[in-house]
Amino acid sequence: MSIETATPRRQRFSRAQQERVTATAFLAPALILCGLLLYAPFLYTSYLSLTEYNGLGDPEFVGLEKFGQLFQDANILTSMLNTFMWVVGTLVLPVGLGLMIAVLAHGLRGSFWFRLPFLLPYAISGIAVGVIFAFILQTDGALTQAMELFHLPFAESRWLLDWPLNTFVMIMAATWQGAGVNALLFGVGLQSIPKEPLEAARVDGATGWRLFKNVTWPMLAPMTTVVVGLSIVGSLKTFDIVWGMTKGGPGRVSETLAITMYKASFMMNDYGLGAAVALLLTIVTVTASLLYLRRQLAPAKEF
């Protein structure tokens, strides 16, 4: 502030102007890149969803026809149902297990080592996870062998061939990959809980489950919102693991919307339908994102 009063008026003006130019220059690369390669394609896909287009000639405007098709095509309806199963399954399994692991490991000596087995798969790509589990779950593969050894029922299940079993076991594969990072996030949340309320509750005689339910869980709520939001958004986009395990098959029974979009656009050359699936997926994802986005943007109110 003191510098401004000391500077002559004319110079101050030019400095402010200069700062604005500099600020724009700093902001421009990010804006231009996102504008050209993310927002412009976004708009074009929105337009394509209203057209019939196979990549040759020009897109032909057909209104909402493609969206009508979405809800009549049995394959796409199955894909929607599968995607829904992914969302629910991901909320129950990786999030639930992640919370359990975080709570169990919290405050333990050497908690890093206890959490390590769960974190390792997080660094592995979806397609590599798919390779591992497609191998384990193949007909007469490792899982069937192990179950037969212990004379368990359903050992002969065709894990990847029958619907909805294949979607279910793929959710298990995703759980193997994703539980650790949820545990990590919940661990960060647990660490940020102040000690005093916990101590006070303990003095009042609360232990174990009651302590967790009445004190820890409510105070963990902000992190829970983030983890739940990320899980919903992430599971809606499920592509890699399915591509690595069934490619959406057999036939098209294990497709998710992300797979359906890819197949419609890049394999069947129905750009309009692919765009309509993408837009549907986007609407659902953005709605779900609002769950945690509000919180993410909250600290920015100072501007």
Partner: protein, 270 residues
Amino acid sequence: MQLARKAILVVLGLIWLIPIYLMVINAAKLSSDYGNATVWIPTDLSGLFQNFADALDRGRIARGLTSTFIYAIVSPLVAVIVGAMAGFAIVALKVKRAFMWFVIIFSATVFPIQMVLMPLFIGYVEVGIFDTRFGMILIYTVISVPFSAFVMRNFFSGIAHQVYEAAALDGASAFQTFFRIYLPMSKSALFAVFILQATFIWNDLLLGLSLSQDQDVRPVMTTLAAMQTTYGGSTMPVVLAGGLLVSLPTIVLFLFTQRYFTQGLALGQY
């Protein structure tokens, strides 16, 4: 109580390691030793390097690895600088309508990537960068910018604005302040963003599938996916060896930089 907690974690942890155990022991089997009945039983590890070599050469993993190494280093490096510049403009330079620009940049990650694939493909073909390494570097960079801007803005918010004012008082230009003061102060955050984005790019499949074709341009996960379907060319142990090979770099990176992963996740809540 502590003992019970440890016991549950150990049992669950061992279950979690089973897939890795199965992957490693079977990736090490010569195809003559591999069979469904002995899938749980390890042999000696002599076949591992043979299978690695097969995956690299005949499975074409080696060609994908070269490209992926380039993508996973160059793109996050550029993105983290571009993102930090945007964060700097928003927080330190107090650009007009800062919050609006911030929301615009950040929101670019909210919608699924499916929403941009087809126009990118059409545009890439049109401009002549489809199936080129430049095109892949470009899209991986752009995809990483919003997250990078988001984290760096959060991080810069923690630096007192007096730092900027003091530098300006000493006659430092915005560029000097950014490169000589803000960036060096944010090394750990920059590194955290770099590692998270490098891992993300390393593991990408979808962009590789959509925007490249040639074996010398395609990223390695795309190659792995192709290897898996052409069972005629590769036996199961070789496919598993390929999977193991492409996973090792990110696992090692993750183990050695776990602190930064956690920091990045916490800063970005991502």
